[in-house]
């Protein structure tokens, strides 16, 4: 049967007249090919997109056959505009959707994943600024894939319409794109470091991104990744649909996919949820609905003669982009399934188009590893030469030391700094150098300005450093000149820190302090017991959330046992005897102060203090009056202090510390005989997945769990307690070469013990010597 457009047009118009509704225009009728050609791969020439719009007269004429169509409701059209969101490389707490850019010249680079098909025409940027930002002189330059798209004024108020940035189609590419925002923020009134703190602009990540009119007709890896990005930005989970219960066959591939997706979404937390197969759509739109889904189908159900595992990308009826894994379970061969599906990751990466860039300063990776015992250039651990024109400048840089690195002695690490600063900077201009949050040097930026200063030595105590991640931070404060006017129009470079600077950390014998920090670092998704349930028994969605947070299961990973606050009797206390009720109280007594959640970006480098929740008791001394009484009290306190140092009471210390804590979860390792095991006690109504995510993000900072107990506060900050009795453990053989540093570490760990031992030995040797003298002088 051939197409008969003329007749069709007339028929369409006739139908239109008959029904009285705008059902079909003559140029909108879709011609159906002949029945014999129904298997043809392509539709006829009539453009499909010209299909008549939905009249929604679904029941029209069914019972009253001449009745015109009426719209009884609106079905959700999954083809609406799509916003491909900006993904932040910096950590975004779950539930948060904004990123704050603070200071005079802040910048941020975002990932943006585009689906295939027609490139978006515009970039939407929803932002608002603090009241101090002077709109007339504050601008944001927008770069798409390193090409400038122009400048836009800052200073919007909440509720103002977002900026629409026209982007040429050629600037975009399918899959991975970068969007960089470089801001210049000027204070309305003041100029200087304090004024710089008041300058901020929030980017609403859930409402910023590339606007795409409609998805492409077909689905592909780029579409799937774009959907995952939307879920990450919106805080929606990726759905997992496994009606046949075969996910265990695809577990290695799912783990790998989850890890890859987790990396691609940068600082956003990606979670997973089991998806009901026969779902109910929410009325009034798809807000909160997931955009990406992974669906598992047994490869054998298609009736293929030789089934094999494979992957494809499809679009579901609700508009979700779906990674469909056809899993061949017929051979009973897990390895074969894994081998067949290896291409999934390649497909995903092809969809990504490029690897996401490294996050400057705070990301931890192989490149941040610092070899002890030799000078290491800062640009080799990620700190390239940086120049600033700001009055306040902060540049953190993470570096990591080996897990068996330990120095407790007074040895020095040394930073040889190459830097330069402008001439005639205002008085009190200074550069602070901080190590793990502690200022180790203040350099005045005066006098010698205008010329490079090379290899300036900055020594600091090596015992400030720990195994694993450490933080080196440069913080400059340059007063305005004058301070009580807006900064001058022309800014000039004020400070330069060069990547040629070197950091030398002394080498150490292979030793470690018993500490949950190492066990936390070795924590992976596999070796976890949830009450009576193991990870193997968990739903696959929960497992993937864990894999995303903690990494894929690995041999030798830490065993984590998760308990609830009513299961504390199962918690091994080792040689501690303090009451478990102290632990329960931490989790069940509400906090005194409701604190807003802290931005983890601001937390990096700042070791949290305990002051806010520290409600430990102070000993009363009312019983001691008068001069003699005070002296007696002081003597008693001194005696207690000495006793504490000589014979510390860890139970008392732990109980006192716990009494000052309030939190949602406690991570601990109290049984010293099980160094590769951790116990996590959850407070009421606290989800393990959420805490796992907190552990994962915290262990990438210097502020993560350490010591023997760590409480996750209601402000999502970990607070730690360490038992001072825990002795350093040697991880290698004693040799002549390492004897002295090993001895030094032990001596530094407990100098009193060391002195007592030496004193005792001296007494013994003195006694022996005395006896020898007596014997040799005896008058036989």
């Amino acid at each position: 049967m051939s197409a008969r457009p003329g007749r069709i047009a007339l028929a369409g118009l006739a139908a239109l007249a008959l029904c009285g509704t705008a059902l079909a225009q003559d140029d909108q009728v879709i011609v159906i090919p002949s029945f014999g050609a129904t298997d043809a791969g392509s539709p006829p020439g009539q453009p499909i997109l010209d299909a008549p719009l939905d009249p929604l007269g679904q029941g029209a004429g069914r019972l009253e056959r001449t009745r015109a169509a009426q719209d009884g409701g609106g079905a959700t059209d999954p083809r609406g505009p799509i916003l491909a969101p900006l993904l932040s490389p910096l950590p975004i707490l779950p539930g948060h959707k904004t990123l704050r850019l603070q200071g005079e010249y802040p910048s941020a680079e975002f990932s943006l994943f585009l689906p295939q098909g027609q490139p978006p025409g515009a970039l939407i940027l929803d932002h608002d600024s603090g009241i101090a930002v002077l709109p007339e002189r504050s601008v944001m330059e927008v770069f798409v894939n390193d090409v400038s798209m122009g400048e836009f004024t800052l200073g919007k108020a909440p509720g103002d319409a977002p900026d629409t940035v026209g982007v040429p189609a050629t600037a975009w590419q399918a899959g991975f794109n970068t969007v960089r925002l470089a801001m210049k923020q000027v204070h309305r009134i003041y100029c200087g470091p304090d004024a710089a703190f008041d300058l901020w602009t929030d980017i609403d990540l859930s409402n910023s991104g590339a606007l795409i009119d409609a998805p492409s007709q077909s689905s592909g890896p780029a579409d799937f990744l774009a959907a995952v990005a939307r879920d990450a930005a919106d805080g929606n989970p990726v759905e997992l649909r496994d009606p046949a219960g075969i996910s265990i066959w695809a577990r290695p591939v799912l783990d790998a996919v989850a890890l890859q997706l987790g990396k691609l979404v940068g600082g956003h937390t990606l979670s997973y949820t089991d998806s009901p197969v026969w779902d109910v759509a929410q009325l009034g739109g798809a807000a909160g609905a997931s955009h990406a889904r992974i669906t598992l189908i047994p490869a054998t159900v298609g009736g293929a003669a030789t089934p094999f595992s494979q992957a494809e990308f499809r679009r579901a009826g609700d508009g979700a982009e779906v990674l469909v894994l056809h899993v061949d379970t017929s051979q009973g061969d897990l390895d074969r399934v894994e081998a067949d599906l290896t291409g999934v990751l390649e497909g995903l990466m092809a969809g990504a188009g490029a690897t996401a860039r490294r996050t400057t300063g705070v990301s931890i990776g192989a490149e941040t590893a610092l070899r002890a015992g030799e000078p290491v250039r800062l640009d080799r651990i990620g700190l390239d030469t940086v120049t600033t024109s700001s009055h306040y400048f902060s540049r953190p840089q993470v570096f990591t030391l080996p897990r068996d690195w330990l120095i407790l002695t007074a040895q020095k690490a040394i930073l040889h700094l190459d830097y330069a600063y402008a001439r005639n900077l205002p008085e009190n201009s200074q550069l602070l150098i901080k190590v793990n949050g502690e200022t180790v040097r203040l350099l005045p930026l005066e006098d010698e300005g205008g010329k490079p200063i090379e290899q300036f030595p900055v020594k600091f105590q090596a015992d400030l450093l720990k195994e694993g991640p450490n933080l080196l931070q440069f913080e400059a404060m340059i007063p305005g000149s004058p301070t009580d006017y807006a900064c001058p129009t022309e800014a000039f470079p004020k400070l330069e820190i060069r990547g040629s600077s070197t950091l030398t950390v002394p080498s150490s014998p292979k030793m470690r302090l018993p500490d949950i920090r190492q066990a936390v670092a070795r924590l992976r998704a596999g070796n976890i017991q949830l009450s009576q349930l193991s990870v193997g028994d968990m739903g696959m969605a929960d497992r993937l959330a864990l894999v995303t947070a903690l990494g894929a299961p690995a041999r030798g990973s830490t065993r984590l046992e998760v308990l609830t606050s009513d299961q504390l009797t199962r918690l091994p206390l080792g040689d501690y005897t303090f009451s478990r009720l102290a632990l329960r109280d931490v989790l069940t007594i509400p906090p005194r102060i409701d604190l807003p959640a802290t931005d983890p970006g601001g937390r990096i480098g700042a070791l949290p203090g305990d002051s806010i929740f520290d409600i430990g008791t102070v000993e009363e001394r009312d019983g001691y009056n008068g001069l003699f009484g005070q002296a007696l009290a002081n003597w008693g306190a001194s005696a207690n202090a000495v006793r504490e140092r000589l014979f510390p009471d860890a139970d008392r210390a732990a109980t006192e510390w716990l009494s000052g804590q309030r939190g949602r979860a406690i991570l601990m390792q109290l049984d010293a005989t099980q160094p590769n095991a951790l116990w996590l006690v959850l407070g009421p109504d606290v989800a393990f997945a959420e805490v796992a995510s907190m552990i994962a993000s915290a262990r990438r900072t210097i502020a993560g769990p350490n010591g023997q107990m760590s409480v996750l506060g209601h402000d999502n900050i970990w607070r730690n307690w360490a038992d001072t009795r825990r002795m350093p453990q040697l991880q290698e053989q004693i040799t002549i070469a390492n004897f002295r540093p090993i001895l030094g570490n032990y001596a530094s760990w407990r100098p009193v013990y060391f002195a007592a031992i030496l004193f005792g030995m001296a007494l013994v040797f003195a006694a022996i010597a005395l006896r020898l003298v007596v014997l040799t002088r005896r008058n036989d």
Binding site: I32, T300, R314, A316, S330
Partner: protein, 352 residues
């Protein structure tokens, strides 16, 4: 795990899902959708409301709702609908139902003619209900309705000896020019089961005749909403739509649910829907099959189209949308039926 095992596993999905979710134990996977359906379309009195038809209720809707209640094991809803139907539509001298009840009319049932599809579903629901709820009296009632359906609505084909046709109603469809038939009133599965369980063999024969007739029609064009059958063959009845529209779009669903997913009407329906962009399905196709003149984005119609696509293309996994009450009663109810058909007949076509 072999194909048979996998299909068995997918087919037994309602049970396995309930096992994996202790909180929702023994709940049918369609329970959330069913609750939404009841909230949107079922009055507490047991009246199924078709808002698009001025809030009318009809035997078809009551039968549809009762079949769903048996599938979902919802005795309370079933009995409410049964009671309302018996009180308001079972007013004829025989066991059949008056076809429509109008809420605001002076006379709620101005026309006591029946609709055979409504009676068919009503009888099928009673038959299933008798078994599911262990109420033999329902089974007896089902038998009575089925017997009267045979007596009043099965007629001989004017041109083919031994072939039985299903009239849309007891009165008004036998004309001088021929017999007017609505192809979408044929639901072979219900007809076969009633024939088997209630000794009304003629209904089973009519079902097979219907399946064959529909296959012949589908090979030459789309299934019209209404046809006229005479000794000369099949033609377009005067005063009835002969386009393939909202009536006929049920036919592929009935065929799939009856276990005949390869039936030509399924292929024919897919031929139209595959031309449309995602989210749209054909609701009216020209009588000669040359063009789609109306489409819809209602999830119910999309579900039928997606199931047909899965059946024809033999590609596991379908793009059936989630159930929504943001659509009229008719597509919403068909969407529920489509889910049931998928679970029972094409488990591999679950929504991806």
């Amino acid at each position: 795990m072999h194909r048979r095992q996998v299909l068995a596993a997918l087919g037994a999905l309602p049970l396995s899902l309930a096992t994996r979710a202790p909180a929702a134990q023994e709940r049918h996977p369609l329970h959330p959708a069913w609750e939404a359906w009841k909230t949107a379309y079922l009055d507490p009195s047991g009246r199924v409301i078709d808002a698009l038809q001025d809030g009318a209720s009809h035997s078809e809707g009551q039968g549809y709702g009762m079949v769903l209640a048996t599938a979902l094991r919802d005795r309370e809803a079933f009995e409410a609908m049964h009671g309302w139907t018996r009180d308001n539509l079972a007013i004829r001298d025989d066991a059949l139902l008056a076809w429509r009840w109008l809420p605001d009319a002076e006379t709620a049932v101005p026309d006591t003619n029946n609709a055979s599809d409504g009676d068919l579903f009503y009888a099928w629901a009673l038959s299933r209900g008798g078994r599911v709820f262990a109420r033999p009296e329902l089974s007896e009632e089902a038998g009575a309705v089925a017997a009267d359906l045979v007596a009043s609505c099965l007629v001989a084909h004017p041109g083919k000896d031994g072939v039985q046709l299903l009239l849309p109603g007891a009165f008004g469809f036998r004309k001088d020019e021929g017999i007017v038939v609505n192809p979408s009133y044929y639901f072979p599965r219900a007809m076969r089961e009633l024939a088997l369980n209630h000794g009304v063999g003629a209904l089973g024969i009519a079902a097979e005749d219907g399946v064959e007739m529909l296959a012949d029609m589908a090979r030459t064009g789309p299934i019209p909403d209404w046809i006229q059958i005479s000794a000369d063959g099949i033609g377009a009845p005067e005063g009835f739509s002969s386009d393939s529209g909202y009536e006929a779009l049920r036919v592929p669903l009935w065929m799939i649910w009856s276990g005949d997913a390869d039936h030509p009407v399924v292929v024919r329906a897919h031929a139209a829907d595959r031309l449309l962009p995602a989210g749209q399905s054909a609701t009216v196709v020209k009588a000669d099959g040359s063009a789609i003149t109306e489409t819809s984005s209602a999830p119910g119609y999309a579900a039928i189209a997606s199931l047909a696509a899965c059946a024809v293309e033999k590609a596991p996994g379908s793009s059936m949308p989630p159930f929504s009450t943001d659509q009229p009663y008719y597509p919403a109810t068909l969407q529920m039926f489509t889910y049931l058909a998928q679970m029972e007949v094409l488990p591999e076509c679950f929504p991806i």
